[in-house]
Symmetry: C2
Subunit: 411 residues, 2 copies
């Protein structure tokens, strides 16, 4: 599979996070000759929050995480790729239980303190006997620096590992936020992308972690789409070890604490970074496109119109063809079902206004806009002329490679 043209030239190096240790190995769950099993150990006192798929056919690991998030504490994370353990019935639940039991023994914690995520094929039983005996060795081998291995181990059809790191000040003390993600296909809103795991040493009470994660996800992981297909396995978790307290960082237990502002901003920036990396590695991707909708009845209406554009096969194939076919944007606004004043609609490609007041801009020059479309990163803006609502989402083009990848993936 060709590597995405957006693959970073160099991967960011994530600094150690006190008490967080990682290890990955080749368990042979589905793939040959690549790492597919990840164990992350977390220090005592780690809090956790997360957002999980809204799918009505959520996987067994998602159900486990949803139940565990209520407790708010975490000591270990196990992730496998190659098999999603979704739609696997009672056996799926048993596989999760066997996995967390082995991980708990390896990490020296209770099973309820183990989070688990699986990504890959849906509907095939996941056999924990193929890998649970490896967790003890992973725990023994775990390193504070194995971030790149970890990002590799959670990949499926991804063509590059996704990592990001930021620092922020909390009460005057620097804290670190680092995360990894995977994506590629079955990427759509109403969720928290395929898999994303973010770690910080900030001392944050579990409800604070939960609130920060959900807020940041709304404009990052929940604002992207590759193919409109919401996965059964989407999981984004934020773990806060609290170890920065040793360096003087204040413990935050109130989600409205003003000292969180810089942290929340850095977290959203990091999650947007990871979310963009997911879209930029969308299956068959050649174009990365930001879609901004303004002038809608509400922000929620703007979001729905933006996704109607971002998910339209005809809009996405026009991007692939480098065709400034703004008529298809008009179509996608129309089918969204939200209020829009056709006769006040305006559309921009980059800085160029191509349509205004419900018809083609008299200054429109096809050649100029067509030249803009040859760029790899595009911005489309639409004003629908009825209110103040606005939203921005990110999508990619729909190429023949997307079809080839997905017509052949499982077989």
């Amino acid at each position: 599979m060709a590597v995405s043209p957006f693959a970073p030239k160099a991967l960011p190096v994530l600094p150690p996070l006190d008490g967080v240790r990682l290890a990955a190995c080749e368990a042979g769950i589905r793939y040959r000759d690549r790492k597919d099993l990840l164990l992350v150990l977390l220090p005592a006192g780690t809090t956790v929050g997360g957002v999980l798929t809204q799918s009505k056919t959520a996987s067994a690991p998602v159900e486990w995480c949803r139940a565990r998030l209520a407790d708010g504490g975490a000591r270990a994370l196990v992730v496998n790729s190659g098999n999603a353990n979704a739609f696997t019935g009672m056996r799926g639940r048993a596989a999760v239980e066997a996995t967390v039991a082995s991980a708990a023994a390896a990490a020296g914690c209770r099973p309820e303190e183990v989070f688990v995520a699986s990504t890959g094929v849906i509907g095939e039983p996941l056999e924990p006997d193929r890998f649970k005996h490896l967790l003890g060795g992973l725990a023994a081998d775990a390193q504070a620096t194995a971030w790149e291995d970890a990002a590799h181990a959670i990949m499926t059809t991804d063509t590059y590992p996704k990592l990001a790191t930021r620092t922020a000040e909390l009460g005057g003390v620097p804290v670190t936020i680092s995360g990894i993600a995977k994506g590629a296909g079955m990427i759509a809103p109403d969720m928290a992308t395929m898999l994303a795991f973010v770690f910080t040493d900030a001392p944050l009470a579990a409800p604070v972690v939960q609130g920060l994660c959900a807020t940041a996800a709304a404009n990052t992981f929940n604002a992207i789409t590759v193919d409109s297909d919401t996965s059964t396995s989407d999981t984004a978790l934020l773990f806060a070890t609290g170890t920065a307290a040793a360096g003087g960082a204040p413990s935050i237990s109130d989600a409205t604490d003003g000292r969180l502002d810089a942290f929340a901003e850095a977290l959203e920036e990091l999650m947007r970074d990871l979310a963009h990396q997911v879209v930029k590695d969308g299956e068959g991707v050649r174009k990365f496109v930001g879609i901004t909708v303004t002038g809608a009845e509400s922000d929620a209406a703007a979001r729905r119109i933006a996704f109607s554009i971002a998910n339209s096969p005809l809009v996405k194939t026009a991007f692939a063809g480098e065709d400034p076919n703004w008529g298809r944007i008009v179509m996608a606004v129309g089918k969204a079902g939200e209020a829009a004043d056709r006769d006040r609609l305006a559309i921009w490609f980059g800085e160029m206004r191509v349509a205004v007041d419900g018809e083609r801009d008299s200054d429109y020059r096809e050649e100029t806009v067509a030249a803009y479309m040859t760029g790899a990163e595009l911005e489309v803006r639409v004003d629908v002329g009825v209110g103040e609502g606005r939203s921005k989402v990110w999508t990619c083009d729909l190429t023949a490679d997307y079809v080839s990848i997905n017509a052949d993936y499982r077989s």
Copy 2:
């Protein structure tokens, strides 16, 4: 462009309908060397009903038809291909007015008795001066037998003309129903496919025509999708000339009249025939797939789940790859947002049950189902295990050819 593998070996021959005359010509609106302008003349007393796109950015011709349907009478229909006259502002309305004025003069009727439809590129001004002078000649040349010409003249990226005819008894007297349609791309529910025009000699009051058309569209044109993209121009009109009254057919003015049953059935059959022809000529199509959902909370919920499956890029690429990837069906059920009991879900490909009680059927044999997938016409059934709601929709696969066609169409 390669002709769809579903193209009929022979086109149906539509019989003359008393008083209905048709003519088409090459106006050069966008295409070269093919007919792109159609005029249909209808006898005095013709009633009309129709369903039009729900798009918020509907085209100028759609707005004209919506206003005219309130009157319930029709004497002429003008259709052009190559330009949709959508998102063309005041000039779009003026183009419609110029067109209907010329058509009314040619047909010897009032402008308000002329229906108009346009299909093709969105956002480019339609110049009526390029073709309105041709309408007089078309009226003079119009023939009762020119159905095939008519079906050709309304095509855009369609690879074959779409025609169908049926007869039914009305009060013991045979009446005829004949229709033409076009489709290919920008085909999705909540509408009445791109363009479909159906004609009958049955004597039916306008409200009866309207009711029959809307009911039949619900399970035919509104139950298909090629690419989930609802057009700005979708128009399905049913014209009833009433000329069968001369042969003794009763005039029906009450929509609940039991004598309509056989007619309504034949009409729905004809509209399903045309709707299937549209899907079977979907851009790049290789597979025609029926999706049946049972066991949903309501028929409407079943419809939404069925369309979630039918529109999923991952499901459609799996069909293209002849891959019985039912895990993606599970995903699409889950993302629909409707009630579904994951642990009672069952899935069939053809007669083969592949999943039951929330996991893979123990009798599942990949080879057998994979062999079934090599067929051109496929049936998928899903029972979601919560109620009695059911619905059936039709879709096609998503192929690399769809992408090529749409990446290059306008440029």
